[in-house]
């Protein structure tokens, strides 16, 4: 039996973020919350292998109660159980504090039912940090493979897996002992269209909610703001440089516009490699 554990996060859909032009503040209103896309693919991979090998998929998330929607979506996608770790005291966590809470939670879930593989997304699109996965693996002292793009094999007997990892330069085929953690890119699995019975189950499903009160005993100093070494010191809007000159082809004609633009580029010396030395 294969037991996969998947860490999923709810994120604001960054493609929909707007800035109030007057105040320069972020308009959060109406920005939809979505399932972090990489996590969804990671979950799809876990479910795919559960269907192949038999077993179950447990999903875990740390966040406010609104994350329940995301955990229900995980059930819709084929997860069997879902846990939300949620407490006001966790608020304001940076990646170090987040990885602490997740690691302790996973440790506990592993005691209940030993885990063979832990799936994370390669990064969460709200912060794009890609830090929590390696952080959790470090805390649990587990082998980890980041940027996983394909699971070639999971051998529960021999306790090992063969996984492909994509880097900037090549694809590595890596053999790892179980239990292992993967942080997954989108190619790891396609997200299937959930069967109706799974959707119906998800709509009725209430994830188990764990808090500071238990069952995991968290160290108060390591969670939330207190457990976060970094703080946001200030926020601002990006600065814009001075714009350069605009040449309108309608006014001067295409030929002259291009000539002028190239002349400027040449005198700035950026065409020297193409045309020989700058004037």
């Amino acid at each position: 039996m294969f037991h996969a554990l998947v860490a999923v996060k709810q994120v604001p859909d960054t493609t929909n973020i707007r800035i109030d032009p007057e105040t320069g503040n972020l308009v959060r209103e109406g920005v939809p919350a979505i399932f972090n896309p990489y996590d969804a693919h990671a979950l799809a991979a876990a479910v795919e292998w559960k269907r192949k090998l038999g077993g179950k998929v447990t999903v875990v998330s740390m966040g406010p109660p609104s994350f329940i929607v995301t955990l229900r979506e995980a059930i819709e996608m084929g997860a069997d159980e879902a846990y939300l770790v949620s407490d006001r005291k966790f608020a304001g966590a940076d990646t170090l504090a987040t990885s602490y809470v997740l690691a302790e939670t996973i440790r506990r879930l592993n005691e209940q039912d030993p885990v063979d593989m832990i799936f994370f997304g390669k990064q969460a699109i709200d912060g794009d940090t890609a830090q929590v996965g390696p952080g959790v693996a470090t805390r649990l002292d587990l082998p980890i493979l980041t940027y996983a793009v394909k699971i070639r094999d999971i051998d529960l007997e021999a306790r090992k897996a063969i996984v492909e990892r994509k880097t900037e330069r090549w694809v590595e085929v890596v053999e790892l002992p179980l239990p292992v953690m993967l942080t997954c890119d989108k190619e790891i699995a396609e997200i299937p269209f959930a069967p109706l019975p799974d959707l119906i189950r998800s709509l009725k499903y209430d994830p188990e909610v764990w808090t500071m009160a238990g069952p995991v005993e968290f160290d108060r100093g390591q969670v939330g703001v207190r457990g976060s070494p970094t703080i946001v010191y200030k926020m601002g809007t990006p600065e814009l440089p001075e714009p350069g000159e605009k040449i309108n082809t309608r006014e001067v004609g295409v030929e002259a516009a291009v000539r002028e633009a190239l002349a400027k580029a040449e005198s700035a010396g950026v065409l020297s490699a193409v045309l020989g030395g700058a004037k």
């Binding site: 973020i17 590595e172 053999e175 070494p229 946001v232 350069g244 291009v258």
Partner: protein, 347 residues
């Protein structure tokens, strides 16, 4: 007297240095300069040091010194031949413990991001990802200047400055091409300190069975000198034929905005911008790109920008050195014609 250490992770694979390492040595020197007065006043010394892991990479350590490191800690051994999270992160975490650097910068490459998260957790410290500005600045209540790490947040709409008050090192990951490449100085002197390798192959818990290379596909956008990028304004994937023609003529490479990549007009490796590559070519030509914030953050560091757009109010003109208001399908062929004529005239 104590030593304030500014560390940079020197990234290499198969003996090739990732250039971001040099860029980071450049910033580290700038950061060191930010605190030099403060340190001198207290009788402290400020140094920029690199951490280099690999197998048979001593010559690279020398290169790092030419690029601005005062000292290199070298971990050389077969277990480091290829990057694997555990041997790298465990070994570096030990060095961190031993030398207690004040600041530690790592390139936000696939390798660097993986490593940075693991080291920060093992060292129990804060890490700010994907920074675009770094400085050492005074923060109320702090005795010494702190690292002010600024990074885009919420889709690039906001710049957030993050500080790590108490924990050390203050870690930051930085994308390639955000900071300029420092001059190589072959006269520079520095020490290379060989550190003992304390991890074994068994500790790695990952065996690389095979490496599948796909040389043809590699687009070296980040380090290209000339980039010609096309956007949704091309109207169709065919536009890239024209873009490519111009790029080839200029000896440059092809870039793209995200919608083109999302629509499958061109591969992801060509994407410039926040969720693609940050580039800093000498010349960047943007054709049919509106200049959304997320695109601009990826290219505004270019030396010279030419924007071609038929909308006079397109925001891309805000960052362009020269803006041509016109139809790219008229402008680019004309550009090709004039460049060819110029080349011929030279020959």
């Amino acid at each position: 007297m104590s030593t304030r250490r500014f560390w940079v992770f020197i990234e290499q694979e198969e003996g090739h240095i990732h250039p971001v390492s040099w860029e980071l040595l450049g910033v580290a020197n700038k950061l060191a300069a930010d605190v030099r007065d403060e340190a001198t006043a207290e009788g402290d010394e400020v140094v920029v040091e690199g951490v280099l892991l690999g197998e048979g990479v001593e010559s690279l350590a020398q290169e790092a010194i030419y690029h601005g490191a005062n000292r290199i800690y070298l971990l050389d051994g077969p277990v480091f031949k290829y990057y694997r999270t555990r041997p790298y992160s465990k070994s570096i975490a030990k060095l961190v413990k031993k030398y207690e650097p004040e600041v530690f910068l790592i390139g936000a490459t696939t390798l660097g991001r993986d490593l940075a998260g693991a080291i920060a957790t093992a060292s129990h410290t804060g890490l700010t990802a994907d920074c675009t500005q770094l400085e050492m600045g005074e923060v109320k209540g702090a005795k010494h200047k702190l690292l002010l790490a600024t990074r885009p947040a919420f889709g690039g709409n906001i710049m957030a400055t993050i500080v790590c008050r108490k924990h050390r090192p203050q870690m930051a990951s930085v994308r390639p091409r955000v900071f300029p490449m420092p001059e190589r100085n072959p006269a520079a002197q520095g020490d290379i300190i060989r550190e003992p390798v304390m991890v074994t192959e068994d500790d790695a818990m990952a065996t690389i069975l095979e490496i599948i290379r796909n040389e043809g596909e590699n687009v070296n956008l980040e380090y290209a000198d000339i980039i010609v990028s096309g956007g949704r304004g091309m109207g169709s994937p065919d536009g890239f034929a024209l873009i490519k023609e111009l790029a080839d003529e200029l000896g440059g490479v092809v870039g793209a905005s995200r919608p083109c990549v999302d629509a499958g007009w061109i591969g992801y490796e060509h994407q410039v911008g926040q969720s693609g590559k940050t580039v800093r070519p000498k010349l960047y030509i943007a054709a049919g790109i509106s200049g959304a914030l997320q695109h601009k953050v990826g290219m505004q560091g270019s030396d010279f920008i030419i924007a071609i757009n038929n909308d006079p109010n397109a925001p891309i003109f805000e960052v362009a050195d020269v803006g041509i208001i016109g139809d790219l399908y008229e402008v680019i062929p004309e550009m090709l014609k004039q460049i060819r004529a110029k080349k011929e005239a030279q020959a």
